[in-house]
Amino acid sequence: MIEVKALQKKFGKLRVLKGVSICFHKGEVVSVIGPNGSGKTTLIKSILGMIIPDSGEIILNGKSISGDWQYRSQIGYMPQIGRYPDNMKIGQVFSMMRDLRKSDIKPDESVLNSYKIPSLFNKTMRTLSGGTRQKVSAALAFLFNPDILVLDEPTAGLDPLASEILKQHILEAKSKGKCVIITSHIMSEVDELADRIVYMMDGEIAFDKTIKEIKEETGEERLGKAIAKLMKSEIND
Amino acid sequence: MPRLPFLFLIVLLSSHLLRAKTIDVGAAFRFKHPQPAIISAHNGDTVMLHKGIYIVKNLHINKSIVFKGENEPVLDVQMKDFGITITASHVTIEGITIKNSARASMTDYAGIQAMKARHLTLKNNILINTYFGFHLSAIDSSLIENNTLIGSAPDDARSGNGIHLWQCNFVTIRKNKISGHRDGIYFEFARFCHISQNISEKNFRYGLHFMFSDNDTYTNNIFRNNGTGVAVMYTKGIRMEGNIFADNWGSSSYGVLLKDIGNSYITGNTFLNNTTALYLEGSSRIQVVGNTFQNNGWALKLLANCEMDSFIRNKFNGNTFDVSTNGTISLNYFKHNYWDKYTGYDLDRDGVGDIPYRPVSLYASIIEQIPYAVMLLRSFAVDLLDKAEKNIPSLTPDQLKDDSPLMKSPTR
């Protein structure tokens, strides 16, 4: 579904992506993890077209995204910290996004309703807590029923209940055959959701394996330990 | 004896009728052309020109007659000669249209020329496309009234003056309209003349131009949109009152230019939209009182060789520059003028500002030296410069100031 080919990006002298190649398929949840500054956000933003790579290609459904913008109608994006025009009310933000995407698709309001956001429609964005903003962001990412979901630290600001709800929706999306890309630091969450883990380090992919493979290779049941072990062996190699 | 005055009148009238007769000229009359009629006329007769177009070549009037048109008859000179030449006194020309006089560089062809005569009356005539309009030399005690002079010269070099006086005294010129000539009104050695209520506009050079013409009075005339405005020189004892000098735009264009003028009065005039409203060079003892200077580029250009001129109760409003000069000394006097740019205060509430106004701005002086600096006019940098100079005058003439500027514009 998404094919990333030899992606390179420099910020000044810093090489953030050193030729990353990777594929994301339908009906799978891929978790991109790695230490801070490893290039995961740059990779995600490149897919979203927010960062323009120096070289390499991103191909979505057989078409390069370079210079294209319409492909983004197939993507739902939930940023790490969602910020919206301060003076707008929540309801207005939703109607604005619908207006901007001018989509004919019947909106998917399941997340919106699970979070009971419609009851908050009259609140202005300025007054909202971080968690509520995250709920809004999540609802917006799912709203247009996109084939691809890009979720950047989706549960970071959410309370446990809300996190649980979001996880259910992610798994549901997967079962509908959507491609979900998640960055996360929480290993238990990754374990629960992801089929595959892409571990990034210093702008390169350290490994790209399914959870099953990782656990089998390391013999560890807990994902966190398994990855730590795997990394150690990678470095020793 | 109540009947005596009446009888006297009848006697007077009949005797007049006996002496003076009216000779009609026109298609329906014995005289088909004015020249033979004039030849046959005697002093005191009236030659009545009826409606029609008459081809003429310099009609010569050498006797005291009234030459009068009825229903606007036209004398067409067909660009060949003068229209009419007057060489007798007590001549009246009234209600006649004269067209197409000759043009030449050596001879001053005119619609009507008159010489060495007195008591002439030129009234209600229309002169179209004549080289000079009225060309008067050595004329005394005459009246030029309510004529319309429309020149159509192609340019400055090939045009003559509208009303041209040379060596004349006591001539009254009023309510005439003059346009399209070189100078609208031109005087050389014309003295004790009264010029009032004329409109002189769209002439190639000056609306009014005179020299060596002492003791003339100009009241309630309008001089506007002439090539270079009004310029007067080498004269004493002028009175200019209630005139309007307007719309004279150009680098050498003036509302009024005074050069070597002495002992004169310029009062109650309006100077509107001129590049330079009033320019004084070598002119002394001029009283400039109660005039309005509105929306001019420079209201006053007062050269350093002018002395003892007084500027009192004038209104300076909306001019780009109020006063500019070319030296650092000024021997002239400013009092009780209204300056719209004055920013002083009046603590004792006597209607007069408590600090003097210096009408010469530093920037006006800079522009005198570097003309293209005008592009920076009203810029922030220039405003700062002017403010600094206002507080510590160094380059602008120290004495040129109004010590008692009015707080409110004087009402006339």
Binding site: W69, R72, D86 | S253, N295, Y372, L377, L385
Partner: protein, 255 residues
């Protein structure tokens, strides 16, 4: 684009700074008109204020607004929208709001107190300056990442055009006063939008003085209504060129 504009305006009309700006202009203009008996005198004072304040507020406000809505722009960039559409939409939104604020603050008092040609030309010039300086603000916003740096550049641009440029020009005129600078003057002036805005008003206010210059170029430039037309055309270049360059930079910008 219109949709982006719609939401920018929606957001901006409730911005307190914008409301304060409108009130500030309105207060100054109506005070001036009430204090001066002669409205044409008020216009001249108003002109000096407009020439300084409008570029300053426009460029600082637009730069600040751009950085404050950075996240919103990020959000938009992740949507199926063209980047040029987003930036143009933002520009038009900010431009309409600030022009409207100027029109309410300065234009309405002028129409009420002195609806003359000079008054209308002042409104025209103020709006053109607003548009130019928003365009420059967008440029300084897209070429930097940092808000403080962006506002710093914006202030420098303003300072340069409102004082430094004219001071340099004056120095240049003094230094080369013996040379025929007539030909050079118009291009030199055209390189400063504030000077252009000033000249539009001068063409009405000081035409009598300007006609005192003999140069053929000046005559043809000032001598007819084409002067205002040409000046406006150059102002439009000042609006469009920085904006197009901003779009070019923004299209390649990493958010």
């Amino acid at each position: 684009m219109i949709k982006v504009t719609k939401y920018v305006i929606y957001d901006i009309v409730r911005n307190r700074v914008l409301i304060a700006y409108t009130l500030f202009l309105f207060l100054i203009a109506s005070t001036l008109f009430n204090m001066e008996e002669d409205p044409s005198k008020a216009i001249i004072s108003l002109m000096s204020i407009v020439m300084i304040m409008v570029p300053l507020i426009s460029i600082v406000f637009a730069t600040t607004y751009f950085f404050n809505s950075y996240e919103f722009i990020e959000l938009l960039v992740a949507q199926p929208l063209k980047r040029s559409t987003i930036l143009l939409g933002e520009y038009i939104g900010v431009a309409l709001s600030l022009s409207f604020a100027f029109f309410i603050g300065i234009g309405i008092p002028i129409i009420l107190f002195d609806a003359t040609a000079t008054g209308f030309v002042l409104i025209l010039s103020g709006i053109l300056l607003t548009l130019v300086f928003i365009s420059l603000a967008f440029l300084s916003s897209v070429i930097t990442r940092d808000k403080a740096k962006g506002i710093g550049i914006a202030l420098m641009i303003w300072f340069y055009f409102s004082i430094i440029y004219d001071a340099l020009m004056l120095a240049l005129l003094f230094t080369f006063s013996d040379y025929p600078l007539e030909q050079a003057m118009i291009p030199i002036v055209a390189l400063n939008p504030i000077d252009l805005g000033r000249i539009i008003i001068m063409l009405k206010l000081d035409i009598s003085a300007l006609m005192g210059y003999t140069g053929a170029l000046f005559k043809s430039f000032f001598g007819n209504s084409m002067g205002i037309f040409y000046t406006c055309c150059i102002m439009f270049i000042w609006i469009i060129a920085p904006l197009l360059y901003s779009i070019k930079v923004f299209n390649r910008k990493n958010l």
